[in-house]
Structures are given as structure tokens and as C-alpha cells.
Symmetry: C2
Subunit: 444 residues, 2 copies
């Protein structure tokens, strides 16, 4: 007799991204509670299980939800506020003043909520976040039903949320304790960068991360100016400083790593430290091109992120995958250096590894949490289909995602969000943006 | 009394892209027959005109339809057939055999029809095409109601459509005569490339183009190998050969131009010849990065194209714009070299200039043909909006296009295609793809 489960997803092409790259065409999945309890050929799963709810999706692709391994969710509020200028102009004339004058818990909450709406609507089920007032981001993610690994941004100068770095560390520890047993919200310690944090703050951050065994993450080697500055500051390469300080281990995550050279890669690989690649932001800010193939070949696990909406300007991981593959080829003038399949892994299982969540998510396998993205392939721009991997990277866009489950729960069905009032989120952020505009007019 | 016109479009933000970059917020347009007869502030236009049909779009952006200045429409049939390999492997093992065994009038018609569906659904109203059996592409475009400038690909060896280049020239002349008085379909002469066409074929192509005063277009300097081969063949730079042969004038269009150097740019600019940039294809095939800023600064009019679906793998011009801006910045490590506004012009008015259609389309101005794209901005990923130009380039995707008019006729309303049976187009192309797959299995 067929066993009853909460949700049965049937009839689609199941792209598991497990180690053997198993596909089931057509395939099906049985989800009970928060977990994928079985998956396989459609007829076998349909014979063995019946669903309290059945989602039948012939012609669709069923794949792991995407993992956005680096963003600043609440910066949706600053989406497109300034573009096409020098990094320091952009930061000093727009982003920093806009943040200093406007970031508060309300902005953090509604900006993050809008980001969750956008992410779910484009197939992302897990995100990694660094920003200000992350309690609000945690609450928004929890309400949205999104999985996340987040942390309060720490630096030497005051933030809208704390006067001293010590307060920032206390806030972070409080975050860790608040969400310790949460199934969705995970916390990490996030010093902003080596050029904005004193060695003392870095050491205290590391100690906190070690005490709770959570990841330590920071922006690193994003562009040439930074690399040069750090070499001046430390009198040695930044990765050398990190290694000697005992910062590098499997819980260390570097965002960007654009300037990583052979020696940096060896040091990271030796310590099992991870990197998140953000190609669209790197391109838009003209930061350079991260050596993704060299890092992967060198043994580093590399995830993929969109970065924040002020430097992208969206959170669409499908577009980010397309760019990752194309930029990788273009930069090395070699179309074979990075394949669609590799990029898809960066955006799913490898991203989950970077965040230390690969025991839970990143692939479709029995026993994993049910973070699932279903894509409607019955559209002109997705026709015909010779190869699923090719389509997922080079052709599908976020708007093609039809239905999303996170931790076994439906958060979007047929493009209707079930956990977020998207009209309210848009209304709130539009009101915030009006205030932001006004604050900038008064300031310049 | 208000004058009655066919279509009144009201309430949206009108982005005209005229020389002064005029915007009307909110604005409106009056369309009568095939022409924009007036546009301006919403209240003024609404007072002066009433529409037999009124399209009221508060919160939306109303902009000129996009101009895809280089593609191979029917290659939708080969979308994603092979990726991530060396150019010559890709061509010789997949594309050329797939074409030789499968391209026939049916493939050309339905592949082009599917391309028209995809293009309209992503806001493109004009396309420039080079492929085989272009009578079929012309028929499909005509049925779809799309504006185009197309030509039969010519080369020294036999094509599925002709045994000799002379037959190809006859076919092209017949195309020109067939569509001479058509309001939508325009014909050009298209020798494939300097490495596939003898000087005699090039000369005969130029003579034909001159006889009918139509553009002459070809692939040029797409990658280093080609540039080197041509220098060997001619004993001089390719642009020098073209100049001395009298090929270069304002009706000459080069696709790609990746390897254009300072001298090539000077030669092109001196003759008023045009270039089409195809960044996503260039990246995916690892061809290099075209010197877009240098070409524009040197005085060349540069349009934007997606290239065919085998090397992109879609026809979304919004994505192409995003990539154009980001790649331009990344390649020169300078975020100021190319702005959103510049890119938007490349995809609209400059593209129209490249194709010699700027008297008709490319901007929203009274007297121009009504080729109009309306974008629904009421979505999480497009919220908030500080600047229309930024959003159109960095955030909007093809799927956000809601309604499209071409030559005054509604071809899509609320994402429903009005001139194409999209289900039939998909069904036909899927059947063709089955045959393509089989033909490749038998061959390798």
C-alpha cells in the first residue's frame, strides 16, 4: 500500500546534482515534514507514495533551490541609486551617506523582506547575508520561510546599529543565541573587511566564531586597490596575515577573492577555506575577474553570490550563473574552462558547502531538507531543450521559476508567494526610498 | 474637441530616447495607423486625443522597442545543442553537421517564428538576421508583425539552399524584389565572412547591394584566429582590404568587430561604416571583448545583437544590455567607460541607425513608426526605482515586458501574443529538434 506523505512532486525532470549527477526523466519526489524522503523514477515513486498534496509538473525541471552565498539583502532599498561611477565616488557620495542617514530596523526588515520575495521568485532558497540590524533580516527570513546564514557587519567605526565594535560583537553573540535552535536561520560572525577592521576586532570576531563553532566571513581582495592597501598595512600578503593569525580553517569564508593569486589559492586550499564569487558585482564595479577556474582546480570550494542590489542590480541567481560561465570563458579566452554543470554546482551544492549547510541542502537526495525549485520549461525561450544543464545556466531566468519549497514548506506556488505579502513589501520599500531620495537631496 | 486616434497609451513613464533624452512622468502617446502622432505629458495628450483603444499603464515604462541588430533567428532550433567547447569543435562537430542535415524551409520558418515569439516577449520589435532560406524568415516575421532587415547567408561552398554562390546571389536579389514595398520586411546582402567568401563573391555582393541601395553586412574580426587568418590571406589588415575594395560606406555593417584596433576603428569611422556588438556570444565562445568604448569614441555607430541561440543561448536584449554595460566596465577596469544610458541607446536608436532604419524607429518621437515596448515595473525585483535608465539596463529582464506594438499594431498584450500561435511554434520546433537529435546520433 502506498505510504502517505505531505507533498508529492511528480512528472518533471528531476535534476538532483548529487555526486553522480543523477537525473530522473520523468521523476518524482516524496516530501514529508521538512525532508525529502524518497526520489526516483516517476512511476516508482507514484506507486510507493501518495501525497496529501500532489504537484504534477510534466515538462518542468525539478532541482535543488539555489544558494545565494553572498548578498546584502536590505540593500534592495538602494537598488540602482547610483551606477557607472568610480568605486570610491559611489561609496563616499552615495552608498555611505544613504546608509548613514537612512538605515534603521524598519529599512533592514522591509528591505530584507523585499529581497526574500525577489529571491524566492527567482528560485533561491538559501541566502548568506551581511548587513546592519541583522535581527531584522533574520525575522524577515523567518517570516518568508527562507533558509539563511547571516551576520551583523562589524567594523572599527560606528554603524547605525552600534557605537563601538564591542557592541557589534555583543549584538552578534545575541544573534547567535537568539537563533541557536532555529531550523532556518543560521548566524555567522562577519567582520566587514581587513581594511575596515583592526587586528583586534578580527581576533575577537574569530574567538566568537570559534566559541560557537559558526563561520567567520569577510570581504577579501575585492580589487587591486584593496590588495595593495592591505600589503602596505600588513607588510605581507593578506592571506599570509590571515594564515599566521590562525583565521583560516573550513569555517572561513572570503567574499570576492578577485585578486587571489597562485600563492593565495594554495594557502586557502591548504586550510580548507572557502570563497564566494560575485561576477556581476565585480564587473559592474570594474573590480576585475576572480580566478574561478584556478581556485576550483586548486581545491577551493567556490560558491556564487549576487552581492547587494546596489551593485548588480538584482538578486537573480540564474542570471548570475549565466554570467559566471560566460565571464569565466571570456577572461581566459577558453570556452572549455568552465561548464554549465560546474556553474550549476557552484550555485547549489558547492554554495551549500561554503556555508557549511551541505549536510542539509544543495542537492536533491533522500534525507536532505526539501529545498526545491520547479521551473516551467514550456516557453518559447526555453524551446527546444537538448540538455537540462545548458538550459538552466544559459537560458532560464529567475522569472521562469514557478514553484518553490523550503524546508518542506511551499513558499511559492504558480508564482504566487505564500509567506510574503509582496504588495506590502513593495509599498513599504517605496516609502523608504522616498525618504532616502530626500535625504540625499538635502546632503549634496 | 479631442481627436480620435487608434491607440492611446497613457499613465506610464515615457522614456523617449530622443536626442535630449526627454522623459514624460507620467506621459502618454497617441498612435494612429502605423505612426506616433503625438506624445507628451499625460494630461495634455489625454485632453487632446481619445483612443479607439486605450492602454492605461500607470507605474509602467513606455519605451522604444528594442533593436536586435544581429541574430540568426532560425537557430532557435539548435538552442543549447552544444556548449562549453572549442569554437572549431563546436562548429565542425555539432553546428555544421546539424545544419547540413536538417536545415530546410520548414526549419527556417518555424525556427524563425519561435524566435519572433521569444523576441516580442522580451521587447524586441526589430531584428537583423542572417541565415539560410531567408524567404521563410521574412514570411515568419511578416506573420508575426515584426520589423526586420534580413539577408541570405552567402559563401563559396554549397548551402542547404543553393549549390553555387551565384544561386545565392540570385536568391538574394529575388528577396529584395519580393519585399521591395513591404512596410516591415527589409532585405540586405550578407556574405558570411571574409574567410568563407572569395573576393569575387564579395565584389558581386557589394554590386548587388549598390544596385538596390541596401546594406551589405558580414561577420568581421570575431576572434584572433580569424584576424590572423585574414592577414595571411590578404597580406594586409582586413579593414584595409575592405577599404581598398570599395566596400566601406554607410551601408556597410560588420558583426562582432572584436579584434578592431585603433587603425581599424579610424578606417571604419572615416567611411561611416557600422559595427554590431554581441557580448554574450563573444563571451560564451571566448572570442574576446570588442572595444566598444573605443569604437564609439572613435565615431562609429555601434548596435547591439544577441547573435544566434546556439551561442548565447537566448534572444533577450535586456540581458544583453546588462552584459554590455558590465563587460565594458570589467574589460577596461573602469566603471565610468559605459553608462546605462549609452547602452540603452545602442539597443534602440543606435541599432536603428546601424540598420539604416533610424528614420522610422529607435526613439519615441512624433512622426516615427509606433514600435513600442511597455514594461510592468510593479514587481519586487524592480522595486524601488530611483532611475529609469538604470533599471532598464541593470534590472529589467525580457520577462517584464507586458505589451508590445510594432508599426502601430498590438503584437502582444499583457504577455499574450496576438500574431503568433506560440503553442504551435513550440510544438513544431520540438518536432524538428527530435529529428536534429536523431541526425546527430547517426553521425557521430
Amino acid at each position: 500500500m502506498a505510504r502517505t506523505v505531505d507533498i508529492l512532486i511528480t512528472g518533471g525532470t528531476v535534476v538532483t546534482l548529487d555526486e553522480q549527477d543523477t537525473k530522473f526523466v520523468p521523476g518524482a519526489l516524496a516530501v514529508d515534514g521538512d525532508t525529502i524522503i524518497a526520489l526516483g523514477k516517476n512511476e516508482e515513486i507514484c506507486a510507493a507514495f501518495q501525497g496529501r498534496e500532489t504537484i504534477n509538473v510534466p515538462g518542468s525541471i525539478i532541482m535543488p533551490g539555489l544558494v545565494n552565498s553572498h548578498t546584502h539583502a536590505a540593500m534592495t532599498c538602494f537598488r540602482g541609486i547610483a551606477d557607472d561611477m568610480e568605486l570610491m565616488d559611489w561609496l563616499n557620495r552615495y552608498i555611505f551617506p544613504a546608509e548613514a542617514r537612512n538605515v534603521n530596523p524598519e529599512l533592514a526588515y522591509w528591505g530584507s523582506m523585499l529581497a526574500c520575495a525577489e529571491m524566492i521568485k527567482s528560485g533561491t532558497t538559501t541566502f548568506s547575508d551581511m548587513y546592519i540590524f541583522e535581527q531584522e533580516t533574520a525575522k524577515a527570513a523567518k517570516q518568508a520561510g527562507m533558509r539563511c546564514l547571516i551576520g551583523e557587519v562589524l567594523f572599527d567605526f560606528p554603524s547605525p546599529n552600534f557605537k563601538t565594535p564591542e557592541e557589534g560583537l555583543v549584538y552578534t553573540e545575541n544573534l547567535i543565541q537568539t537563533w541557536a535552535d532555529d531550523p532556518l536561520v543560521n548566524i555567522m560572525v562577519e567582520p566587514h573587511a581587513l581594511y575596515t577592521c583592526s587586528p583586534d576586532l578580527l581576533k575577537a570576531s574569530k574567538a566568537l566564531a570559534d566559541r560557537y563553532q559558526v563561520p567567520l566571513a569577510t570581504h577579501l581582495l575585492e580589487n587591486k586597490a584593496e590588495a595593495k592597501q592591505l600589503e602596505g598595512k600588513f607588510g605581507k600578503r593578506a592571506t599570509q596575515f590571515l594564515m599566521e593569525g590562525g583565521f583560516l580553517d573550513e569555517r572561513f569564508i572570503a567574499f570576492h577573492g578577485v585578486l587571489m593569486d597562485e600563492e593565495d589559492i594554495r594557502i586557502f586550499a591548504d586550510h580548507g577555506s572557502r570563497v564566494v564569487h560575485n561576477p556581476e558585482s565585480n564587473m559592474k564595479l570594474a573590480s576585475g575577474v576572480a580566478p574561478v577556474s584556478a581556485m576550483r582546480n586548486g581545491g577551493i570550494v567556490v560558491g556564487l553570490g549576487t552581492d547587494g542590489c546596489a551593485s548588480n542590480n538584482n538578486l537573480d541567481m540564474f542570471q548570475e550563473m549565466d554570467t559566471t560561465a560566460k565571464l569565466g570563458k571570456s577572461a581566459l579566452l577558453d570556452p572549455t574552462v568552465i561548464s554549465a554543470r560546474t556553474v550549476l554546482r557552484m550555485a547549489t551544492c558547492d554554495g551549500a558547502k561554503v556555508l557549511g549547510l551541505d549536510g542539509l541542502v544543495g542537492t536533491l537526495e533522500a534525507g536532505k531538507k526539501a529545498d526545491i525549485c520547479i521551473i516551467d520549461m514550456d516557453k518559447p525561450h526555453l524551446t527546444p531543450m537538448y540538455d537540462e544543464y545548458s538550459h538552466l545556466v544559459y537560458t532560464v531566468g529567475g522569472a521562469d521559476v514557478e514553484t518553490v519549497l523550503i524546508n518542506g514548506k511551499l513558499v511559492m506556488k504558480n508564482r504566487r508567494l505564500l509567506t510574503i505579502d509582496e504588495e506590502e513589501a513593495m509599498r513599504r520599500v517605496r516609502a523608504i526610498a522616498q525618504r532616502v531620495k530626500k535625504s540625499l537631496r538635502n546632503g549634496f
